[in-house]
């Protein structure tokens, strides 16, 4: 009798222990951008909640592809840009609506939260809340290329072989604006949009000889600038600010046709397995102090209320230098991309890539 009781209690104890390890081994698989989940923040989150975070760095296209491949499984929280959510949801059904009652809205800048909610709406449900925002602008070595003020100036033959940009959709949009067109206004008119794309395609093909290389990752770009191999690029504002810290001549400039504003969000993959942990992470990183740490690592500001208070003074100075009040008003924020446009853009980029 005594023996079997002992046996039972050991069994019970073992089961409890196993459950405990399982609970403490709870993980949040985060699909994000470089710098958005610094190690320090991950450690603090683990200390507070016991949840460990598995970080996978990625970009917009890869996020959609990865989630599409698994039907929205494999990750618990993703961070696509706000304009890439409703279209992807319409095409591939990879996200799950956000339960807004689980988000502490008081931590976020209200206008940004409302804007993101409206832009990530699909069939009346909200699929994203804002996290980090920034722009695509120009990064220029101002002593070597003082007259680059707008995206098309990158095609100035004077700077042949000394400039870089990405072969991605923001470049198409930027060149369209820079050439005096408004691609966003044509988003819902495919024929008009195709016309704009045709002009941009011709420009990008003629500009190709100017390009040193199409950059693909933030680090690769920073290396190209640092080594002096390129002197101007269309780039994320944060990259330029990072280089500016060591090379004062390199600056982030708001192009005259307007910087392109993006907001990276939090979105729940359809088959997320740690929804509660995801909400905990969102509410955790939006605290002003944590948000400031993320700004330090990512180089961009967050949608957290007072999130810039604890940010180093020099960072705010750089921001203000790039964006005086008028330049902020001139930022073109991406509206949601309607389904189907990316196919048209893909063709254009294939042809530009193949042109000699």
């Amino acid at each position: 009798m005594f023996k079997s009781k002992l046996f039972l209690s050991t069994l019970f104890g073992a089961a409890m222990a196993m459950m405990a390890t399982q609970a403490s081994a709870e993980t949040l698989r985060l699909l994000t951008w470089g710098g958005y989940a610094p190690e320090k923040v991950v450690e603090m989150f683990k200390a507070e909640t016991g949840i460990s975070v598995e970080v996978t760095n990625s970009n917009n296209e890869e996020m959609i592809s990865k989630l599409r491949a698994t039907g929205g499984a494999g990750f618990d929280l993703a961070q696509p840009s706000q304009d890439r959510i409703s279209g992807a949801q319409a095409e591939y059904d990879i996200y799950k609506p956000i339960n807004l009652s689980k988000i502490d809205a008081s931590l976020m800048i209200a206008s940004m939260l409302e804007g993101t909610k409206a832009n990530t709406m699909y069939n009346g449900k909200v699929y994203g809340v804002p996290h980090v925002w920034g722009t695509s602008a120009l990064t220029v070595n101002t002593t070597k290329a003082p007259d680059i003020k707008d995206y098309i100036d990158l095609c100035n033959p004077k700077y042949a072989g000394k400039v870089s940009y990405r072969m991605k959709r923001p470049t198409l949009i930027a060149f369209a604006f820079s050439m005096g067109m408004d691609p966003f206004a044509a988003y819902n008119d495919k024929a008009a949009y195709q016309k704009i794309l045709d002009k941009v395609e011709a420009k990008l093909i003629s500009c190709k000889s100017n390009v040193k290389a199409y950059w693909s990752g933030g680090d690769a770009l920073i290396n190209l600038i640092r080594s002096g191999e390129i002197i101007a690029a269309m780039a994320w504002d944060g990259s330029g600010w990072k280089v500016n810290a060591e090379m004062p001549a390199v600056k982030t400039i708001a192009p005259t046709s307007g910087a392109l504003g993006w907001i990276d969000t939090f979105a729940l993959p359809k088959k997320t397995k740690a929804e509660d942990a995801a909400y905990k992470w969102i509410n955790f990183v939006m605290r002003p102090k944590i948000a400031a740490m993320i700004t330090e690592a990512a180089g961009n500001f967050t949608a957290a209320r007072n999130g810039d208070a604890a940010v180093e003074e020099s960072k705010r100075m750089r921001f203000q230098e790039t964006f005086p009040a008028a330049a902020i008003d001139n930022i073109k924020w991406y509206p949601p991309v309607p389904a189907g446009l990316e196919d048209m853009e893909g063709k254009v980029m294939d042809r530009v890539k193949a042109a000699k």
Partner: protein, 287 residues
């Protein structure tokens, strides 16, 4: 259960892992890919069956030109690898003996101890505008300003030949090793010069090695992604890169899958015609 069924059963069991491997990891994904390649998108989340993705390849010059370019460059890379690899293999297999032989053979292997990515970055450090070679040229005084050696076809070729050298040298060394030296001596005794001995004795003997080396190198080069993309930059234009973009950045899996299949079929055709031309059979070469 008699002995015959028992042995048949054990044979089946022994083959099971291989069969599972082939079916689950190779056949099934290909069937799935093939089905995807027959999809046509009509509206978001709506697909129809059709061959539009295949016609797209043949009607859009951009795509088949890229494929032709990739195939031609791969054939050139294979030829170059053979031209450079043959003397090296002959030297290792026939001129050297003992420790030096294994040492040189090992030297061919050493670069493969680091990953392809690292090796390619190594080339980038050497060849880039602010890189080692450019700086040396300026220091010596041959070049006035920085020289950019990356992002052109010649660089891609260097990278491809470098990455595939081992796969040519290994089969060549093993076939040349089996060539009896007395045959070469007999060739000279019968009045042949170096060229006839090479043409009539050494090359015919080494043919299976040459062909298998060429097949492996050609397929590896054609399917290479990293080297052309990193060393070719904006001008790389490689077919596998196109497949990658269709899948990852264009979300066009249907077209990407069709490209994948076309790559499989067209490259098999090229290898098959290569075998016909050299009058070799696959069983002879691989056996």
């Amino acid at each position: 259960m008699n002995i015959q069924t028992a042995s048949r059963l054990s044979l089946l069991l022994l083959l099971a892992p291989l069969g599972l491997w082939l079916v689950v990891l190779i056949v099934l994904p290909h069937v799935d890919m093939f089905l995807i390649s027959l999809h046509e998108k009509t509206a978001p989340r709506v697909f129809e069956y059709g061959t539009a993705n295949y016609t797209e390849f043949f009607t859009e010059p951009l795509y088949w030109r890229t494929f032709t370019r990739t195939a031609v460059m791969s054939i050139m890379a294979t030829t170059l690898t053979l031209l450079i690899g043959f003397p090296v293999s002959y030297y290792i297999a026939k001129m050297l003996r003992g420790r030096l032989k294994s040492f040189l053979f090992l030297l061919c292997l050493v670069p493969f101890w680091v990953s392809e990515l690292v090796r390619t970055f190594g080339w980038m450090i050497l060849l880039r505008e602010s890189g080692v070679i450019s700086n040396v040229l300026q220091w010596v005084g041959i070049a006035q300003g920085p020289v950019e050696m990356l992002y052109n076809d010649a660089t891609i070729m260097i990278g491809l030949v470098y990455t595939s050298m081992l796969f040519m040298v290994v089969p060549l060394v093993s076939t040349l090793d089996s060539l009896d030296d007395s045959l070469v001596e007999a060739g000279y005794d019968l009045g042949g010069n170096a060229f006839t001995v090479l043409r009539r004795i050494i090359i015919p003997h080494a043919m299976p090695g040459i062909v298998s080396g060429c097949i492996v190198v050609f397929m590896l080069t054609l399917g290479n992604y990293l080297t052309p993309v990193l060393l070719g930059g904006k001008n790389s234009l490689w077919f596998t890169e196109m497949i990658y973009t269709q899948f990852i950045t264009r979300f066009n899996w249907e077209l990407g899958a069709a490209f994948g299949f076309l790559l499989l079929v067209l490259s098999s055709l090229i290898v098959w015609s290569g075998l016909k031309l050299s009058r070799q059979t696959l069983t002879e070469t691989m056996g």
